[in-house]
Amino acid sequence: MSRKSKVKLTNITKKFVTNEMETRALQGVNLEIFDGEYVSISGPSGCGKSTLLTILGLLDTPTSGEYIIGGHDVSNLTVNQRASIRNKHIGFVFQSFNLIDELSVYDNIALPLRYRQDALTNSEIEERVKSSLAKVDMSHRTQHKPNQLSGGQQQRIAIARALVNSPDVLLVDEPTGNLDSKNGDLVMKLLQSLNDNGTTICMVTHDPRYADMASTQLHLLDGVMNESLHMELAV
């Protein structure tokens, strides 16, 4: 049975030009992520991991190459079109959680739902937020503010927020970078169980221990993807 492709990058390059000096962050990267796959991208600092993740998350545009997500070619979209795709197809989990301190846990999680093109009613929003919270086992903390929670709890809320719009893929950037090992392990366990339940995950990490937890492990070095390993594991 052929697996359904969620994300496909073809020959992606990214160059930064500063003070007449050109830096090639990504050089001809090809990557395809399938439904239900758990992909980890690892590599040393400065190898282009985060750049790749921002392009995957439509937070930045590649210099060249093709990007298809959920069947849409998103290589050449306007800012607002990219925002819509991001809202519908992508869930983000950041190293620094990026929760909004002024909003409650509930409102932080509901935020992506409020930006949807097809607006939801308040009861629909509530239902989805509760369901997301249940997935990360944080149903009891809806009215707390992020700064009243521990780091591990904040990351679980960030994961709930990323899941609330049922995205095609969860993009996870160094999820344990700001956590101690105990909380880090708990978060990784949560991601594993989400993947077991069908969530597609693409995670950037420099920790080989956590990278090994993914079904597909990719390595970036100087902006070049180690494709052989990718192919080998994919087969």
Partner: protein, 800 residues
Amino acid sequence: MIASIRYFTYELKNALTSLLKLGTYSSLVIATMGLTLAALAVVVNINYLVLSKPLPYPDADSLIVTDQSETIGDMTQYGFQILSAQFHIYQDDSFIDSMALMQSTGGRLQEVTSSPYIEALQVTPEYFALLGVPMALGRSFNDDEGVNDQKRVIVLSYNTWQNHFSGDLSILGRAIRYDNEIYEVVGIIEEGFAPPEVFGSLEIGGWVSFHEEVSTTSHWGAITGGVNGLTRLKSGVTLEQASASLGQQINTLYQSQGAAPDTAIGGRFVSLKTKIIGDSAQLAYLLLAGVITLLLIAVSNLSNLFFSRAAQKQRTMAIQAALGAQSRHLFVHVFSEALWLIGASWAIGMIIAAWLLVWLQNDLQFTFPRMQNLSLDGFTLIVSALISIAIAAVLSFVSMRKINSESLVRDLQASGKGTSAQISTRTRNLLIATQVCFATVLLLGASELLHPVYKKLTQPLGFDSENLRFIRVDTGDVEEGLPEYSLQMKAALMALPEIESAARSFTTPLVMGWENYLYDENNEMLGIVSVGMFDEDIFSVLGQQIIEGRSFTPILDGDALPQEVVISQSLARRLYGDQSPIGETLHATQNEPLSVVGVVEDIYVPSTSDGYAEERYYLPFSGARMGFTLRTKGTLDEAKLLATVKAIHPNFSVAFNDTFATDLSFRLRNAKLTGGLTLSLVVLALALAAAGIYGVLSYSVQMRRYELGIRLSLGAHTQTVIALVMRQSFTPIFIGLACGIVVALIGNMLGEYLWQYQVQAEWGAFLLALPIMIAIALLACYWPIRAAVLANPIKALRNE
């Protein structure tokens, strides 16, 4: 749509929660904008009422009045009418469809025990129809109660009826005594009716019929600003046609009445609205220009606050964008906060404005027309609300545009929670330069306006006005022997221990009397000069120095006045240069020679114009009118004064009794209001500009703390670092100053070119304004740097 409203409501709720936690920021924005919107609302309200609001009369645009001209040689002046000329126009049926004669009058309402002074208008019956005057009770004047019908009828204002007759419903048909005449009350005008202010902002308490004889030959001796005609022209007749033809006709009449040589009159019809607006339009426009500049300063101020807030919120917005928020979502997010802040500013601003209008009502009424029943107009509320919303929208949009999408991504990838976002140096410099530029324009403009006001308020009178007062005795029905009575009265007043000295005076020396022709020894016209009539003691009572010659020969017989004249120093200089005028001959009336016996010091009596009538001449007074200028030693008891007056004749009463100080303060009221309003605008603008510059620079210093800390830790002296930052900060300040001067000069040239508005370049004021601006900018610069640099450098390095 519903979803959008729901999202907007959601963002409004969140914005309110955030703002409540940002007390300092919110109060700064609300204080800045609240005060600015209050000033804006007051000035817009004044401008709307004075210049734009339609007059509340039927077909008001077709109503016109006369602006008669008088030409002597090649000099023409407007604003004075002759009743007989108006009467001629009144009788015309070629151009005039309907016309009402109007004469300003006033007197004591003797029907009431307190005998209050009531301003009134003498009008013909057409007045009521032309203005559609609504009657609360009774009727207006009938057609047979017009000019030369010798009927004495009166219509009272609602306020007079309520205040002096307690709203007595049986007043109609009652004969009341007003200004020594008996009138029949025929009607009461509805409450709130505002008569057109053709003769200035007087509260008209009654309208009386023209009972005296008026003809085309009767009143040529009296040229006055207190007469006019309210007119509607026949359809198809233009203002120019009517002005040319009727102007020619009245001049022919004037010349036939033995006019002075080389003089002519003319008639120029102007719309009622133009007449009412008069000179007040200029001040209204200047205030509007001032308040718009203030608004620009406030908006620059707000821009800095909004941009800083946007920089602070950059991380939150980056998260929102990552979660799929589109531009409109981010705009609503920023706009919601702006809307709360500007909305609160608007509400507070309108409350302050409404309060200011109540507080200033009496003064504004004195300076501007149409200020009766003054309150915040719906128009003002809407305009200020629209301006507020526009400011909120524009600032939100610009703040959003300031957010750099690349740094949004950087923010998300930052592992810490701190924000690296800041307002760019270019934007900061632009904000400082803009504020300095606007504040300089306002300061320069205001200094030009304030300089004449200051000069007027500080100009010495030329005589000692302390303890001076003027009284006028109402002689009732006594008409014979007044000069003799006035001599007795003067003696009786002098006998009172509270009175130091007294002089018989036709009017107060502050008013003088009127402007009159003056001819030389050959009866050749020398011009129109201010004239007053007094007895021989007036100069000693005033303390006005006689420079040369003497005062009049003592006047003991009203029928045998000395043929003498005393002239002012300025008049003497113009007429005789360095020659002594004593013994020269002048004529106030042709062929009645007067010998110049004295030259007195000039006096400077403030009036509505900027200049002073320094050229004056003084004539001996017969005492036919019972006026007295008194220098008192203490408080003059009113009962005692009345008893003294009654002792001379039981029918005599005190008609007027007031100090020179009161009169002077009344005369300076306009200048004080202009000065007060301008000064308030300037102080507010400078405070806002200073706060703005301080805000931008303190933000800038905050951003540079680490760098400054390194410099200090490497051994830089405090003053070296302060000088470094000040030098850099002063570049935009000097650019702003230069731009301000250029903009002020261009504004001045435009004003002269478009509106013929002449500004006397006052270099003193100009040179004073610039150091003030520089000093304020210096202080606003120094303060934030000082605080940052004086602390221990390690604090800066640790960013504590």
